[in-house]
Symmetry: none
Subunit: 247 residues, 2 copies
């Protein structure tokens, strides 16, 4: 199996039915994915999860249970959110095939990658979706699109394995700098907010989507660590000047 | 949906568990496949099939139950057998993706097409596999390949739907704002340079790739016009402050 698959994790958020966690583990292992993160699962561990996992119980044993999405993706350079529908502020959207190619490319370059699936009934919240660099959609019938959680994971995991096979025959693209992780990005956005308030450019009491639009821009750009340093360096220089002006 | 999908049927041979028939119906309908043939199912109709089908019970109602594979494929121009392993006498073998492309091509040309899945425990017999024009395999982990029946149908049905989409040009994603043009971008970069010099953050006499890195970032991001306005608005606010400081 490809070592890059070890850099890709599946994150399930607030799963209600432990059977779906087990079926997800099985769907992953069949496609050589091994790292499962569970954000605040309703019932876990649970015998129904074990039962549905069949031969993939080892993935349940090594699953990482955390209480927030932040904790599941903090060290990730690429975060992809599974989304069934288009949102009010459109986010970059790729189908499962091209999303898998992007994820494998980033994983091969040594980055940690997360693909995030939401609740069985309501998916991911807008806030959770905004923590993702881009969204992934699985093409389905327009009349009937009730893909269940494990089936969605199965299709995505299959595409990821297919993408690793394709990349092995294609060679990899090189980037010169490691990608920023989710933590770096949150700090950058917080820094922007602070400086924009200092500049009287942004009023958090009447926000008008400005922070969301900046977030979308930088998510989509998949910033590397040096770019983060440049942007934050410039924010720092602006802050210093602001402080000089107001003693 | 594509009319060619009406020419493609899924055939299940000797299925033991009615739940798998229901889950297969659901997996099919989600991908716009509607024609299900059942060769000598152990238990059908059955409430477990209804229950697992969820919103695809109509496919169970219209399922054609026959007592031999011959009867299920008699009118088919292309018959494809799902096979987990290579047989003693090698048969033409395609992975799910290229098999789906072949099936859609044949269906579009007006041929009846069948994709045949075997028993949960033992798959298709050699004799049954020899009734197929070629075999289809789903790439999986080499260590663990226990893809269950409905998951296998899900992946194949997904590939069939993807193959029908591929004939159409890739649909353009909708974005809420017009993209910036080259001119907008050059002006943004010039503005950055000017403000970074004002901030003593950037010295054009020892540039060290900083402008090149900013350019690569914003090129890759494919900025829209509102994002340009936000970034330039912030640069403008910074400039105003710089001017206040230096009367």
């Amino acid at each position: 199996m490809s070592a890059s698959l070890d850099n890709i994790r599946v994150v399930l958020v607030n799963t209600s039915h432990p059977g779906n966690i087990g079926a997800t583990a099985r769907a992953m292992k069949i496609m050589d994915l091994k790292r499962l993160y569970l954000v605040a699962p309703k019932l876990f561990p649970h015998e129904k999860a074990e039962w549905r996992a069949v031969g993939a119980a080892d993935l349940l044993d090594s699953a990482v249970v955390v209480d927030s999405l932040d904790a599941a993706i903090a060290d990730c350079g690429v975060v992809v959110g599974a989304s069934a529908r288009q949102r009010r502020i459109p986010w970059p959207l790729q189908d499962a095939r091209s999303a898998a190619a992007s994820m494998v490319e980033a994983a091969t370059a040594g980055n940690q990658v997360a693909v995030v699936f939401g609740r069985e009934d309501s998916g991911l919240s807008n806030e959770e979706l905004h923590q993702c660099h881009f969204h992934l959609t699985i093409p389905t019938s327009e009349q009937y699109s009730a893909l269940n959680l494990a089936a969605a994971v199965q299709v995505v995991a299959y595409e990821i394995l297919m993408a690793t096979h394709q990349q092995q025959s294609r060679g990899e693209q090189k980037w010169d700098v490691t990608l920023a992780n989710a933590d770096d990005l949150e700090r950058l956005l917080a820094h922007y907010e602070q400086v924009m308030i200092g500049l009287d450019f942004y009023d958090p009491t009447t926000p008008k989507q400005l922070m969301t639009r900046l977030r979308r821009l930088f998510m989509r750009s998949r910033l590397d660590k040096m770019e983060i340093n440049i942007l934050r360096g410039m924010l720092g220089a602006t802050e210093k000047m602001l402080n000089q002006r107001r003693p």
